[in-house]
């Protein structure tokens, strides 16, 4: 037979291009940055600590972590190919140089403001229609936290962790490292030694936080790592919804991001933690991009407490993260909703751990992987039911959508049940976008690229629905843009 007379691109080609769309946040802010010399040793840690005027106990915490880190080697068990990282070739502290700490927005460097405006993060409080409080972190320091006074009236603390160390040392001392010990893993030890900034949230007893709290992380300086640390404490009957967004400039070299997020949820309290992670992912050949090695964990310490993780992961060259819930309180609930997109040469090994300790604890895991190009996308999850967890219940749904024949989707579920009354369910599917679906859309006038966006968003909808409204729209658009030109 002669070739088709219709000069169309095949769906494969269109899907292939969809994965090649440009990164929109790749610009660099030309700002005077104070970067300390590369390398890591005790002097560097003392220097960081001194720079931040930290109390002795915190320096001691850092040094202990550092000494422990020296005994460790990077983990190799993930389904990732990680080039050897020279930890002495990284600068562990970079600070956009501002003359002094800004007292009001007028004093913040206009270049910095412009950066966050270009990222769509308004720091001017009156412009924030959605009623969202923002902590903006560039490189190693928090630039500005909005809406603080209003929150303070309700007893809510929302500030950078550096400020929290100064202003609320007792709270920080009590909770820091209480969920993620510096002995937890290689990157947790590294972070504990050199963490720079991040956000601190404390919601007092019985307070429902009236607005979304949000931290926006931006790596700007070159040759630096970002090691932020977030600590969220929801006291009895408190509620907070917290959002985290991340971007970085487009650079040829790899940047290391090793963060820790710790969450403590007391009796009947609830924390929703949402992430839209869009660190620079590297180019089509896999040059550059952020290594995203993150330890996120929440402790549902209180009875009937609830912690919900929602993540939309589209960026980073390599992602290694498992936001987890320790369900200690009786009847406590853990949730994990994830969409992880990989394309080009991206690699992701992500999932969750649900550790059931308390009686009648419940957990839900919904993971939606989307892989395109030559990427590798792995779900790794642990559901552990301790002997004490009478009546524990888990439901796991783990779906993979493949957009190319050259990508990989992998599932590594670990189930460890030590109580016979537990009920654990695991469902998994793997699918491709079918030609029939694309043709159906085409016949109705919807071009293939748009159809892919529509189908992918439909596939991810269960997770997207868990995001706060204003974030969901952004995340949907991100998903669509990310996959432009990637069906193939």
């Amino acid at each position: 037979m002669k070739p088709d007379t219709t000069p169309q691109r095949t769906d494969d080609e269109v899907i292939a291009d969809a994965a090649n769309s440009e990164y929109r946040y790749g610009f660099v802010t030309d700002i005077d940055t104070d970067v300390i010399e590369c390398g890591l040793n005790e002097d560097v840690i003392r220097h960081i600590s001194a720079r931040k005027n930290e109390p002795e106990w915190l320096l001691e915490f850092r040094l202990q972590a550092y000494r422990y880190w020296l005994t460790l080697t990077p983990p190799k068990w993930a389904h990732l190919t990680i080039p050897e990282i020279d930890f002495q070739a990284i600068s562990y502290y970079a600070e956009p140089r501002q003359k002094k700490a800004p007292q009001s927005l007028d004093e913040v460097d206009p270049q910095l403001l412009d950066t966050f405006n270009r990222l769509g993060i308004p720091l001017e409080e009156q412009k924030q229609l959605s009623g969202m409080a923002v902590d903006a972190v560039m490189d190693s320091v928090s630039v500005k936290t909005t809406h603080r006074e209003k929150l303070a009236q309700m007893g809510i603390i929302f500030c950078s962790i550096s400020e929290a160390v100064k202003d609320y040392p007792e709270l920080v001392k009590k909770y820091l490292g209480s969920v993620v010990s510096y002995r937890d893993n290689f990157y947790a030890a590294l972070n504990s030694a050199v963490f720079s900034d991040g956000s601190f949230v404390y919601i007092p007893k019985g307070v429902r936080c009236p607005m979304e709290l949000s931290t926006y992380f931006r790596i700007n300086a070159s040759g630096t790592g970002q090691f932020e640390r977030t600590l969220i404490v929801a006291d009895d009957d408190a509620y907070v919804s917290y959002l985290e967004g991340c971007t970085a400039p487009q650079r040829d070299e790899n940047q290391l991001h090793a963060a820790i997020v710790e969450i403590v949820v007391e009796d009947r309290a609830e924390v929703k933690y949402s992430t839209v992670q869009n660190w620079y992912a590297g180019d089509a050949e896999g040059r550059g991009g952020v290594y995203n090695f993150v330890t996120k964990r929440g402790l549902c310490r209180g009875d009937y407490s609830k912690l919900s993780w929602t993540q939309v992961e589209t960026g980073s060259a390599i992602t290694w993260k498992y936001p987890s819930c320790i369900l200690k309180g009786e009847g406590s609930v853990g949730e994990f909703y994830s969409v992880a997109v990989t394309r080009n040469r991206q690699q992701a090994d992500t999932g969750t751990k649900m550790i059931h300790i308390g009686r009648n604890t419940r957990s839900t895991i919904v993971s939606k992987g989307i892989s395109a190009g030559y990427s590798q996308n792995a779900y790794r999850g642990l559901v552990k039911v301790a002997p004490s967890a009478e009546g524990a219940r888990n439901y796991t749904q783990c779906d993979s959508l493949l957009l190319s024949s050259t990508c990989g989707a992998h599932t590594f579920p670990y189930i460890d049940v030590r109580n016979s009354s537990a009920i654990v369910e695991h469902e998994a599917t793997t699918s491709k976008i079918s030609e029939d679906q694309l043709f159906y859309c085409n016949q109705r006038g919807i071009p293939t690229e748009e159809a892919v966006g529509l189908i992918v968003n439909g596939y991810a909808k269960e997770v997207m629905n868990k995001l706060p409204m204003e974030f969901a729209v952004e995340a949907q658009r991100l998903l669509q843009i990310t996959l432009e030109n990637s069906v193939g």
Partner: protein
């Protein structure tokens, strides 16, 4: 009816992979006309509708199709849609998680974009949906459900006609729209199609059975057999087929 030609198919050959299925189709359709295409299983009915709509499973090997002056076969499937060609699928496809509202908004706005028009406002769009839903007595709830997901056979076909109503095509191809329908659903679907008929659009009804043609009265009936239109006539031909089956046609053709 007028004398302009809406669709002119000339000596069309097409197939799937290396197998030839259509072996020289000729068909002329003018605005205002309803053409029924009937024929035994495997005669090429669905291939014809797929080829006209641009289904990538099929490959055209020779021949031409002109759609109101355009070279239909050179257009991408979405552009054929924008230019006014609609296919009501025999097996409508499910798209999990995509609501009918979002799906149709994407469809309507893609067409508007093609004609350099602004997207419809949310208000105007919802109004349009409401109006068109009434034509096929489609429940409001169906519109918020995912495309065809969990729809019954009848709901799927009504949903096809609903989409047709929204997109207002010049040429609609109904591919075995009657299959899987009970008599009530058939009546609703047919009445929807009839409401959408006017002097400027045309319909191709592909069916096995006379039954649907009791409701949608054709002007012409064509019998497709072994990839060719072997017999054309008026509505009475469908009745004759109902009575005598296809064997006499097969015999005539096979003995030629």
């Amino acid at each position: 009816m007028n004398n302009d030609i809406l669709l002119q198919v000339t000596d069309l050959h097409a197939g799937i992979e290396s197998r030839e299925i259509l072996r020289g189709i000729n068909l002329t359709i003018r605005p205002g006309e309803v053409h029924a295409i009937m024929g035994p299983n495997g005669s090429g009915k669905s291939t014809l509708s797929g080829v006209l709509a641009g289904d990538p499973h099929y490959h055209v090997t020779s021949g031409s199709a002109t759609f109101h002056g355009l070279d239909l076969l050179s257009l991408a499937p979405e552009d054929r849609s924008h230019e006014g060609l609609f296919l009501s699928f025999q097996y409508p496809v499910e798209i999990p998680g995509v609501s009918m509202v979002n799906f149709m908004r994407a469809a309507v706005n893609a067409k508007r974009k093609y004609f350099n028009q602004e997207p419809l406002t949310a208000g105007d769009f919802l109004k349009l949906m409401r109006q068109k839903r009434a034509i096929v007595e489609l429940d409001n709830k169906l519109a918020s459900r995912s495309v065809n997901e969990g729809f019954s056979g009848g709901e799927k076909k009504r949903n096809e006609i609903f989409q047709m109503a929204v997109l207002e095509p010049q040429l609609s191809i109904l591919d075995e729209t009657d299959s899987g329908l009970d008599i009530d659903a058939l009546r609703i679907v047919a009445s929807g199609v009839n409401k959408l008929r006017n002097d400027n659009n045309a319909t191709i009804v592909i069916t096995h059975y006379q039954r649907l043609l009791d409701y949608i009265r054709p002007d012409f009936v064509h019998i497709l057999y072994k990839g060719r239109i072997v017999y054309s006539g008026g509505p009475e031909l469908a009745l004759e087929l109902e009575e005598r089956g296809y064997d006499w046609i097969k015999e005539q053709v096979d003995n030629q």
